[in-house]
Symmetry: C2
Subunit: 487 residues, 2 copies
């Protein structure tokens, strides 16, 4: 068996595990969570065992020694498999199994804790999951701080220090920008006509828009969950989820556009390379650039609504006679919300910067898990000027920590930055600018397919961005976009 | 690792595969069937490999040698694991993988073939699947004919000859009984008030009835598929499916009661023994006795409708003012239908006997796959007096062959026979008779739990029936039930 066949087999097992996880979030009966955790954990360890077996490393070395560099994709695949497996082999199989079990338990504890806004229900699980993260960072090794080792798994080729510096600049610019945007919103006091916006109408409008921007429903679907996500269950099986707010249809709509952005990236990866680096998403920061591009650069643009507002009016009777200008003011409103996923473009990154700080403090053991609620509220008040009413609206709001996703949040802001830079570059092509202005997105998607999706994981994220846009990642286009949006 | 832990691990992998199959039937995007087949096939071979490994047999022998017979459940588990694994080991892993792939392909071809009523689309797949069945029968070995070897996998401890003799008697009695029942129906000409019976109302009524008879929705759910089924995805995760006919709500209702009967059996198996013979259903004939008991003995009884007809009237406005007597005549109507799953109690077994004959002819190579449509129509006409209008209503109507389920159909009629015998025995307990007459089924379910479910697979089906009812399996109660129903 060749190393690439082996990698495909491991991907097949992992994708089977993803099906079980997807079902856990969507349709699993309440009494079956424990056994499901065992099933998921078994598949995770089984795949991990294969990926760290001596057999795997022998196959890899053999292919490496035969590689003459004449096929750059093949060489990139070998290089990335080597990078991944040198990381994987450092983590013992039993640690993977125990972490997977802890994640399932943590996830269910988090649901209960958030429901009752009781951090103490989640705290021991977070402590467990943090210990796993620290243990893994130690095993992987790092130059400066444990965060580096975790970050590398989500966004290769960057450092905690680089992120921290970048976030420092961004926070400085965002502080006045967000304050001014909020002030402007207060003056306009924009509103959406009152609901209910029936869920069935939301579903049909969301599906129409997702298909319109290019999500392929023959290779994917949309279901309902508490926390929206996108997951790949196979090369042509990409599943999005959303949740519905009957008082505001834009909540599920932008959620679907966001997840469809992730989904179209997955659908655009080279199908025949599924399971190989060249058929896989390169990083979370690039993944998030796709979701934020479709959600914000496209979905919140006046051009988009010029075409689709009349269709929204057909779906939701409340909008009939309601002027598009007022609707745009509503979707462009800025306010300090305690909830990240409800945050607007002007304030979103402040949430990310806050979490990045807390995660870093935890990993550097400058604070303990028990301190999280108070530190959260303290830092939150500094940025937002108020304290969330409870932990459900504070440190318990997000799913990520409950699933062991520590070292992950900065990629959201990297995504915003990359999205703006990519959209700017794509629309500097006159035909794309013209089509996009008319809310026809096929040429934009084609550009993204060619410049991002089709490369899979063969290029490092900064290289990919520079190749696509002509210059290295920078906050310039993003800040210009925000200024344009709000002023 | 102990042999029982190993058996549980294999069950865990198989149940993960069942999740993938369930999803394939319910929610899989149309473009992803090929990769899903690979995923399912991998898990099937992986489980099979473990179950035929020398390691498995060593563990089994070790436990057998230590067994002193002091724990009868333990001894039964060892005996049944031995029986199963001696069968499994005869089938090479690559045959299992190739058969699983052929089943997926066959399943999709069958869907297309049935849609266009074109047997030629399915024929090469059926030939493949038949060859797999023949190959397996040869590998397992048999005394008289290949059918014996296949039957043993579905209904241990019986023989093709026993079934054939039983079916001969049944057919003789059913011929006049069904003809007379149909004649009576013609005179009454019963009807259901015209639809539409909205799907959402059907769903809520079905869920109410399923819960009322004892299906636990914390450990299960109901979804929609073309061909209804029940599958176990874990000890507390039992999934039913149904399909809806807007012109007749009883179609999905009786379907749900049928599948819930299967489901309550699975939910009643000893939970802590999941994956062991003592925590598994013993045979398809016993499984079907549970589904047919709830569908027919309970669901079509006048006592049941005495209580639930008023509730049906609340769900379906058409029924308001429609007399219960006429409704009962409708659900007790008898007619020769080309479709098995729509057949009534008077004619159902004639369908099964027909299929049993054809499967036996195929396996004994007395006919070829190409002959199936003509033989089907010929035998059908003999029993039913007419020829189905096309193959979609004839030999293509059922899913089973497309999934390799050959040697399986007789268990449906065994289920009918067992259901009548069990219901008769349970209701000979005065308190159960009284509760059941008042449509309170908790004591009936308790009796079934104690006498059938809790035994899992520790007793051979005929022994289980004799223990529960006081006499060996016989057609007596079933024929008495049918006479009572129709005359």
């Amino acid at each position: 068996m060749e190393i690439f066949d082996r990698a495909r087999k491991i991907a097949l097992i992992n994708s089977a595990g993803s099906i079980l996880s997807w079902d856990q979030e969507t349709y699993l009966p309440s009494g079956s969570t424990e056994y499901r955790a065992e099933q998921i954990s078994y598949l995770a360890s089984h795949a991990h065992e294969l990926s760290i077996s001596s057999d795997f490393f022998n196959l890899l070395s053999e292919s490496e020694s035969k590689d003459d560099g004449s096929d750059s994709i093949r060489s990139a695949n070998l290089r990335e498999l080597r990078r991944e497996s040198d990381r994987s082999v450092k983590i013992p199989t039993d640690l993977v199994a125990r972490e997977s079990t802890a994640q399932s338990a943590g996830h269910h504890a988090w649901i209960a804790a958030r429901k009752s806004s009781d951090f103490s229900v989640f705290a021991p699980h977070l402590a467990d999951l943090l210990a796993f993260a620290q243990k893994k960072a130690d095993l992987w090794g790092f130059k400066k701080e444990p965060y580096d080792a975790l970050l590398e798994g989500f966004e290769r080729g960057t450092s905690t220090q680089t992120i921290a510096s970048l976030f420092e600049i961004l926070r400085e610019k965002l502080a006045p920008l967000s304050a001014q945007a909020i002030e402007n919103t207060k003056q306009l006091n924009p509103e959406l006509p009152p609901g209910p916006y029936p869920i069935t109408a939301q579903q049909s409008f969301n599906a129409l828009i997702a298909a319109e921007i290019g999500f392929d429903f023959h290779a994917g679907r949309i279901d309902t969950t508490t926390h929206p996500f996108c997951t790949s269950l196979g090369p042509r099986d990409i599943r999005l989820t959303t949740r519905y707010d009957e008082s505001d249809f834009t909540s599920s709509l932008f959620g679907v556009m966001h997840e469809a952005g992730h989904g179209m990236y997955e659908q655009g990866l080279p199908e025949s390379d599924f399971g190989l680096p060249s058929g896989s998403a390169v990083s979370l920061g690039i993944h998030e650039s796709q979701s934020r591009l479709w959600e914000n650069q496209v979905g919140r643009s006046p051009d988009f609504w010029e075409k689709f507002y009349p269709i929204a009016q057909e779906h939701f009777s409340q909008l009939k006679g309601y002027p598009i200008e007022k609707f745009l003011q509503f979707i462009h409103r800025a306010e300090f919300s305690p909830i990240r996923v409800e945050a607007d473009e002007a304030t979103y990154d402040l949430h990310i910067i806050l979490r990045f700080q807390i995660e870093r403090l935890l990993l550097n053991k400058e604070i303990s898990v028990a301190d999280v609620p108070s530190i959260w509220n303290e830092l939150f008040e500094k940025s937002f000027g108020f304290i969330p009413k409870d932990d459900a609206h504070g440190c318990l709001q997000d799913i990520h920590w409950s699933m062991g996703g520590i070292g992950y949040f900065p990629t959201y802001t990297l995504g915003n930055i990359n999205a703006a830079q990519l959209f700017k570059a794509a629309t500097s092509v006159p035909e794309i600018a013209k089509a996009t202005a008319a809310a026809d997105y096929s040429s934009l998607l084609t550009w993204l397919r060619k410049n991002i999706h089709e490369h899979g994981g063969t290029l490092d994220p900064p290289v990919l961005i520079e190749k696509a846009t002509g210059h290295p990642p920078s906050t310039e286009d993003y800040l210009a976009h925000l200024s344009g949006r709000y002023f």
